[in-house]
């Protein structure tokens, strides 16, 4: 072990310490937590925070990925490699299985997305494993429904979020008491912004999937967004596939996550680009939030991430 210079608290240290505190509270007070790991930047940060909270011991919870079957292959490859490095246990809940067993019905048409279907798969997996707490990487700066959500957010036995009757959250005292069948969603990054996340990734020198960096890819343009071309995607009249240099600001389903034109090929360039951006991350890249003024609110109430 090396001895480093004395701490001078920065905002990143303050946010990090708060998040570690939240993770340890949940591990101590709930029986069967799980950490939702998508391979995206926010959940990559969660894994580093879990290392800081619990090492040199193993994590006191498994990791779980809700796989829509439409994920970027680069992200799945990264996910498995990162889990291997950590030596932790990964569970995969599959939307395809939910479709195959008739729990959900696949949407059809060129705009079909498995985004909404994930909620059923997630809730089924939480129930099947008996999880009573699920860590997620959501942040309050992402979206206005999220701005109102607690760090430790109660879900009833239907997995629903009721924004009107949330438990007050005071000081750093969290109330994780639940009945059987209920669970809490826990968001240690609640107070982080997108820029904080990238600055932290740069500070910690964390690896992120290659799609976060500028790369050339076959895309098509729809509603002003650049979607990755993949087998099975359907074009609408007038759309064509072309090559473009893009990077991703968020990692979601290929069917509903748009890329942005970018030349940023290093962490430092990505941080600089995020610091200078004039569009929110979900507004620029997520078709799932464009459906209506309250798209996220509705999905959250139903039990979404």
């Amino acid at each position: 072990m090396s001895v480093t210079a004395g701490p001078q608290l920065t905002h990143l240290q303050a946010l990090e310490s708060e998040a570690i505190h939240v993770m340890r509270e949940v591990a101590a007070e709930l029986e069967r937590p799980v950490l939702l790991f998508s391979g995206g930047k926010d959940s990559i940060v969660l894994l580093r925070l879990a290392e800081k909270a619990f090492r040199p011991a193993p994590f006191p919870f498994p990791l779980m990925h809700v796989d829509t079957g439409h994920n970027f292959p680069e992200v799945i490859e990264f996910r498995d490699r990162r889990v291997g490095e950590l030596g932790e246990r990964l569970l995969v809940a599959s939307v395809q299985e939910s479709i195959d067993t008739g729990r959900v019905v696949e949407e059809s048409g060129p705009r079909a997305s498995r985004n909404r279907l994930q909620t059923v798969t997630l809730l089924d997996a939480i129930a099947a494993h008996g999880f009573d707490a699920a860590f997620g990487g959501a942040r309050r700066d992402e979206e206005r429904a999220r701005a109102k959500e607690r760090v430790m957010s109660f879900r009833d036995d239907f997995g629903q979020w009721d924004p009107k009757s949330q438990r007050p959250e005071l000081w750093n005292l969290y109330n994780g008491r639940i009945r059987r069948g209920e669970h809490v969603r826990v968001f240690p990054l609640s107070n982080w912004t997108e820029l904080d996340v990238w600055e932290y990734i740069a500070q910690e020198r964390l690896e992120v999937p290659s799609i976060y960096y500028a790369h050339e890819r076959e895309v098509f343009e729809r509603d002003g967004m650049l979607y990755a071309w993949r087998d099975g995607a359907q074009l609408i009249d007038g759309e064509r596939v072309f090559a473009e240099t893009v990077r991703y600001r968020t990692v979601g389903d290929m069917s509903c996550t748009g890329g942005v034109r970018s030349r940023a090929t290093t962490l430092e360039e990505v941080v600089a680009e995020i610091a200078a951006t004039t569009i929110t991350e979900r507004g620029e890249t997520r078709a799932d939030d464009r459906v209506s003024e309250a798209a996220m609110e509705d999905r959250k109430k139903a039990g979404y991430f």
Partner: protein
């Protein structure tokens, strides 16, 4: 150096212009993104405004709120000012507390983590009940800085006299507040932007800071770690059993609630009081020579002691009090009133204990700040002093001296709801 992260809370009565003020802060610090702005422009048009951008819509939340034109819960907003050469620039977290429903609960929640409170007044109405309540709660919750933003100055021709009258009125009220916090008064117009981010030209008689200047400069509680004794509530014991790490490793993990801790420091383990020393302080494989609050750390000790979650490590020469009977100011959040004899779960630092209400000592009249003795109950939104007995000893400091080790929440075991918040006085 000051922490470059400031948490503050805003509250005001309905129509004081709170949403407009927050929108103005975000807009004038260039924190509003193009797609958000387009959304606000569209919503402003749809609601039939005069064509001007309604900045209040930037803080629009849930559908029910938009439909009913109300705010139902505390919302958190984020903005930042760019770093400057002289150490300026900060990240800000706003806890935006709605004023009319569940107001005590919302204000107390927002205030519990805030370093500064912005109390918004409408210059035409002066000091109303709601503003008094907010100022009282801010002082009770130990917020060190109060800012009274006197809004809508444009509607009284930016009158220096009217502003002066409100300052006088508030000063008379503030003299009765606990701890007599320092108050800064700023005449603003959130609608036009005067003295929020940009200095007002029409109010050249005002020579104090703009709201943003003040927010960038105030010190936060953690800026003086050496003035407060170290406290580490133990959250979790790190003791690897398998292949990872040495099997004799044992560290006590938690977030430093206050003060500074170094290897070699003599500490006591509470509530028992056994003495030992800090052997090392770890943060993820690195030993650090010093930890300052609010850092999350893992501490190894010289001696092998039986220590578990809920215990507290404290600097040996200034230990906290240990007791099973406490007096505390309690804010009550639920319809079912608090009465003597009732039993709750009490969560204090990392310890959960049973608590029984011995006696209700008084209830505060927020209007006069008088304490009326021996009330029969504390109802929803009431604040009063209560004597509690706990099933296990608590290691605590009076809230006035330490917000982290002097606070607790009460949980109703029948509903699992958080029904009250308490600040220990002794």
């Amino acid at each position: 150096m000051t922490l470059d992260l400031l948490r503050f809370t805003t509250a005001g009565s309905v129509d004081d212009g709170k949403s407009t003020l927050i929108g103005r802060l975000l807009y004038d610090t260039q924190q509003v993104f193009d797609d958000q702005l387009a959304h606000v422009a569209e919503a402003s048009r749809r609601r039939g405004g005069d064509g001007a951008l309604d900045l209040a819509l930037l803080t629009d939340g849930l559908r029910a709120e938009r439909e009913q034109g109300i705010t139902i819960d505390v919302a958190y907003r984020y903005f930042a000012t760019p770093p400057t050469d002289d150490g300026g620039g900060r990240r800000f977290i706003i806890a935006d507390c709605p004023g009319h429903q569940q107001y005590t609960r919302n204000m107390v929640t927002g205030a519990s983590t805030a370093d500064l409170a912005v109390i918004l007044l409408d210059v035409r109405h002066g000091l109303l009940e709601q503003s008094k309540r907010h100022a009282f709660i801010s002082a009770l919750l130990g917020i060190p800085h109060l800012v009274v933003a006197v809004n809508k100055m444009d509607l009284v021709d930016c009158s220096r006299e009217r502003f002066g009258e409100i300052v006088e009125e508030f000063e008379r009220f503030a003299a009765k507040l606990r701890g007599r916090p320092g108050v800064v008064y700023i005449p603003i117009s959130a609608l036009d932007g005067d003295n929020v981010v940009a200095r007002s030209e029409r109010m050249d008689w005002y020579d104090g800071p703009t709201l943003l200047e003040l927010l960038e400069q105030v010190e936060v509680a953690y800026d003086h770690p050496y003035d407060v004794p170290a406290r580490l509530p133990v959250q979790w014991v790190i003791r690897p059993s398998g292949e990872l790490g040495g099997s004799d490793y044992r560290a006590y993990a938690g977030q430093l609630a206050s003060g500074a801790l170094r290897p070699g420091d003599p500490v006591v383990v509470l509530p028992g009081g056994r003495p030992t020393r800090v052997a090392a302080i770890d943060t993820f494989g690195e030993e650090i020579p010093e930890a300052l609050a609010p850092l999350s750390i893992a501490v190894r000790l010289d001696d092998e002691l039986d220590i578990s979650r809920g215990d507290m490590l404290a600097i040996a020469d200034q230990p906290p009090q240990v007791a099973r009977e406490i007096e505390a100011d309690v804010c009550w959040f639920t319809d079912q009133p608090l009465r003597a004899g009732a039993r709750y779960e009490l969560k204090h630092t990392t310890r959960v204990a049973g608590a029984v209400v011995d006696r209700l000592l008084d209830v505060v009249d927020v209007h006069t700040l008088e304490r009326n003795p021996a009330p029969p109950q504390l109802a929803l939104n009431d604040i009063g002093r209560v004597r509690l007995r706990t099933s296990a000893p608590l290691a605590f400091d009076p809230y006035e001296r330490n917000r982290r080790t002097g606070s607790f929440i009460l949980i109703d075991p029948a509903t699992n709801g958080t029904v009250g918040a308490g600040m220990i006085s002794r």
